[in-house]
Amino acid sequence: MLLLVILFLPLVAALAVYLSGNKLAAKVALVAAVAEFGISLVALQHLAHSQFEGLSYTHAWIANPNINFSIACDGLSLLLVLLATFLVPVIILSSFGTEQANARSLYALILLMQFAMIGVFISTDGLLFYIFWELALIPIYFIALLWGQGKDKAFIQTATFKFFVYTLIGSLFMLVAFIFLYTKAGSLSLQSLYGLSLSPMEQLCVALAFFFAFAVKIPVFPFHTWQADTYTEAPTVGTMLLSGIMLKMGLYGLLRWLLPVAPQGVLTLTPYLIVLSVIGVVYGSILAIQQKNIKRLLAYSSFAHVGLIAAGIFSLTNEGLQGAVVQMLAHGVNVVGAFFAGEVILRRTGTLEINQLGGIRSIAPRFATAFIIIVLASVALPTTNAFIGEFLLLFGVFEYNTWLSIVAGLTIILGAVYMLKMYQYVMLGEKRATVSAFPDLTASELAVFAILIAAIFVCGVYPKPIMEIAQPALSEILKHTLG
């Protein structure tokens, strides 16, 4: 029952927000999102005390074909649900203080997206997973298209269209794979798929199909070219939803649906997949260095970071998987903080072009402090959340191959290069004309940063609970994958 509430509350809230009108929409959405976070904490409490009733639900849905409405929540799912329920209220709060056109639609779409993403994280039936997967795409498509930030409307259309087609094609492969699996197993429940024995060739095909679908969403090199444009053109709330939560759907998909369902296929493909992921790490990092737009730079940085998460997953080691979980959460928090810092600058100066900015630190010390902490978390300084993640991910890759981990480890050098360079030219130096009036953070902006920064240090200093919650689920996945 608890899980059903967690799933459907955002949907109900989306409707309520839409009906509450433009003036109240943001507040209603925030209250609902905070309530949702509270309820997911209750679920955490249950899971921590091994009370599993209420954390799964199955209902016969369609008799023929045999499809069930079945949802369940283990530690892995719950952590991602928590990520979504933690970040959505923060993202809503981050939009306070700015006038949004047609606010009720925007906030309703945000909550609708939360509904779909939570659905993705808890579905245990393939078709249900697929439906939620596609459903999540629709709100973000509209958010990007209708509230886009770019001045050139035609470019926004091209960018969002590219994003849409890209991911749609990716998920078509997934649909085909699911149909194939259904013909083999007679059901799409996780249990039956985990128990299925396919020939190596069949596993290879299924693994490839799943990989394409998830690789586009994550994105893994070379399927990333939709990302930078979309991140740059979408409104910041949309970029936060995409980068903070939605791309974790792809990583989650790898863990839940790719590894255990087609283990033989995965083992065959691992050398290629891990190399592609590591290429993404270095490639994204290098391309980020010379970017001239803050959001575009962050897009490439994010691409590099998730590449490392994917590499950790493909290392097929316990440490790599743990690192992936910790880093999914850490990246979610940090990337939202980074894009929010960009948004704060955009609100005050009207630009995100790095060469037009400079000297903000001297007039907005609070913002400067918040921003440097986000920057340091992004470069995985110890005591921040990302250090734990990167340490374990790189160690996982190291266990797979030493040289690969040295190449992937370049991210800790290059990350410092592009993040500090960006911070230097945006924040330090003499004050530029564009930032002549740069009021320091408002109360709601300060609250957003304070919440994110608290999360950064709590997870960085005491990450053990996260690992304890995730470990049983990861052991299960590894057991199915490695036999």
């Binding site: 340490f391 500090l420 005491y462």
Partner: protein, 630 residues
């Protein structure tokens, strides 16, 4: 227990109070909070240090499980043994003096509170670095002090040159840190622990030589970054952009010795890898000589000291390379005394000169600044290796080890020491002797610094003179106190004792002393008797110009690494990513889909309509299912 927490958390509390309240605190109060917290840590350090001196057992505390799952268990653990206690004394003791100094030096700076916040944070991370009972806690401190170094080098953040120097320091340290990480991975993978005691036990009954070699080599790369050794040293001279107390504390006395501390801490690993030790000795000796030659040609008072630091660190590494860990540690301590004194003295001079750092524009300052001059001279005598002073004993020990292990490196190191005595006295003579060469305004402004500045100078000068008694050589004393004290952590090196060794030691001391005095005399003749002045910019040619321009190493790195990286980034974005990768993916996507062309022709408006229909449809299904379920 409580005292350990206090020891570590006092500086953190100072950071939080100064950082959060900022300019709401008066400068006086901010300085008192900043200094008092460090004094508190110093007193607690004394308690532990003298406890250990008196024979107390080391303290090891597990604060909490940090990273723990499966086969990985990394504690947040603290270890206070003889080695960490020694470093604690240096870090908190000199740290406290420099905090006092800073209350005077930074008095007129608008970022006063911020400065103390960063300084406190630095001490906090330095304590973690020193006190960690495993490599990962050490690494927290290791990267944390790197952060503080970044923040303090770029303290005057309106100047982009300073910011560049700060960024350079952070990035070059990160290169080393990758080595450190890989070294840790090798150990963790093979021994399933990163605890020092655990590793010690694991390698006690023999370990795979190959593994230890690679692990120690990668750890040494980390040490090269932090302790500014070839090829990762170029950040340290640039780091002089930071305020002078920072140069003294972070970039001379404490942080840059972290690499030496790490190797001393892991001496049980390095001893098992003679090849790594050999590499360390060569890199150290090369750095010592290379940096000393550059120091001879520099005219910026802080740059001379910076290259001197790089050179002295090289000597320490050379000692480590001979397995003489205690000698390395000994020189760290004496160097901390005299180099901190020298940097703080240079700060006093810069203060009096109104920000001028070029020694060609100084001269005759001893008339106006007797205390600064006196303390600076004592520290210079100490670093030059004049008999009886601290630097003499610690340097002599290193040279003796060099003579025993490798005569070539002994010659290299002796020559580096000779150069050291020369450039240091060049500095003293040009700064304090002769007649004043600055502007009238500057001359009018010349004054001795206030007590907050001169008292730390005097204390450090006294330590520079007497610090050598921590480790009197065998010739003069029965026991080498420091190596006796550190013996539980660093097993004593077995040395050939006896009459022959003693006479050899005396001979080596004699040679070193003669060389030092010769260099001082040479500097005296050039800069006092003949009143030679270093050439102005652009007047140098040939080898002198090459040395003056630091062998063009920065330029080389720029051409070989920085420029190609930036070009790759530009080209990678505008050509590779936008045209090639995007093109290939989109093209193959279209090819694989028979409907490609049609998809392209669909207007986005229509897509919007279809999507709306789809979303409504899906939501409808759910509502239907839900009502059906009830």
């Amino acid at each position: 227990m409580l005292t350990i927490y206090l020891l570590i958390l006092l500086p953190l509390a100072g950071f939080l109070i100064n950082g959060l309240l900022g300019t709401k605190l008066s400068k006086g109060l901010s300085g008192i909070i900043g200094s008092a917290t460090i004094l508190g840590s110093f007193l607690i350090s004394c308690m532990y240090f003298f406890g250990l001196v008196g024979g107390a057992a080391p303290t090891e505390v597990k604060v909490f499980d940090w990273i723990s799952f499966g086969n990985i268990h990394i504690n947040f653990g603290i270890l206070i043994d003889q080695l960490s206690a020694l470093w604690l004394m240096v870090v908190t003791g000199i740290g406290f003096l420099i905090h006092i100094y800073s209350t005077g030096y930074m008095h007129d700076d608008e970022g006063f509170q911020r400065f103390f916040a960063y300084l406190n944070l630095f001490i906090f991370f330095m304590l973690l670095l020193v006190l960690g009972n495993n490599f990962v806690v050490m690494f927290i401190g290791w990267e944390g002090v790197g952060l503080c170094s970044y923040l303090l080098i770029g303290f005057w953040y309106k100047n982009q040159d300073y910011n560049n120097a700060a960024k350079k320091a952070f990035v070059m340290n990160r290169i080393g840190d990758l080595g450190f990480l890989i070294g840790m991975f090798i150990l963790l993978y093979n021994f399933h622990t990163l605890d020092f005691n655990g590793l010690k036990a694991a390698v006690a009954d023999g370990a795979n030589h190959h593994i230890i070699f690679w692990a120690t080599l990668f750890l040494f790369i980390g040490a090269c970054g932090k302790s500014a050794q070839i090829p990762l040293y170029t950040w340290l001279p640039d780091a002089m952009a930071g305020p002078t107390p920072v140069s003294a504390l972070i970039h001379a006395a404490t942080m840059v010795t972290a690499g030496i501390f790490m190797i001393c801490r892991a001496n049980f690993l390095f001893t098992l890898a003679p090849e790594t030790l050999h590499i360390i000795a060569i890199v150290g000796a090369a750095t010592a000589l290379f940096a000393a030659t550059i120091g001879v040609m520099q005219n910026d008072i802080k740059k001379v000291l910076a290259y001197s630091t790089v050179s002295q660190l090289g000597l320490m590494f050379m000692a480590l390379g001979f397995g003489a860990y205690t000698s390395g540690a000994f020189h760290v301590v004496t160097h901390a005394f005299f180099k901190a004194c020298l940097f703080l003295g240079s700060g006093s001079v810069i203060h009096a000169m109104g920000g001028e750092q070029d020694i060609r524009r100084m001269g005759g300052l001893k008339k106006w600044m007797p205390i600064t001059f006196g303390t600076f001279l004592l520290a210079t005598l100490a670093i030059s290796g004049v008999p009886g002073l601290s630097g003499f004993f610690s340097k002599d020990e290193i040279l003796a080890h060099a003579y025993e292990h490798n005569k070539v490196l002994w010659v290299v190191a002796s020559f580096a020491s000779l150069l050291t005595a020369y450039y240091m006295f060049r500095l003293v003579f040009l700064t304090f002797f002769g007649s004043f060469r600055g502007t009238h305004d500057q001359e009018h402004h010349l004054h001795e610094s206030p007590l907050s500045i001169t008292i730390p100078l005097i204390v450090l000068a006294i330590l520079s003179v007497f610090g050598g008694f921590l480790g009197l050589p065998a010739v003069f004393s029965q026991t080498h106190w420091l190596s006796h004290f550190l013996a539980p952590v660093i097993p004593a090196v077995t040395e050939g004792e006896g009459g022959e060794a003693a006479s050899q030691e005396l001979m080596l001391m004699g040679i070193a002393t003669v060389l030092a005095f010769a260099a001082i005399a040479w500097a005296y003749v050039r800069f006092v008797s003949k009143r030679t002045l270093p050439a102005e910019e652009g007047q140098l040619s040939g080898p002198a110009a090459v040395v003056y321009n630091k062998y063009y190493v920065d330029e080389l790195y720029n051409v070989a690494v920085v420029k190609p990286l930036l070009a790759m980034s530009e080209w990678g974005y505008s050509v590779l990513d936008k045209i090639v990768v995007d093109g290939v993916v989109v093209w193959s996507g279209r090819l694989s889909l028979a409907t490609g062309k049609q998809l392209r022709q669909i207007q986005s408006g229509n897509i919007g309509f279809y999507l709306l229909a789809m979303v409504l449809g899906i939501v409808g299904i759910f509502i239907y299912v839900l009502t059906y379920l009830q």
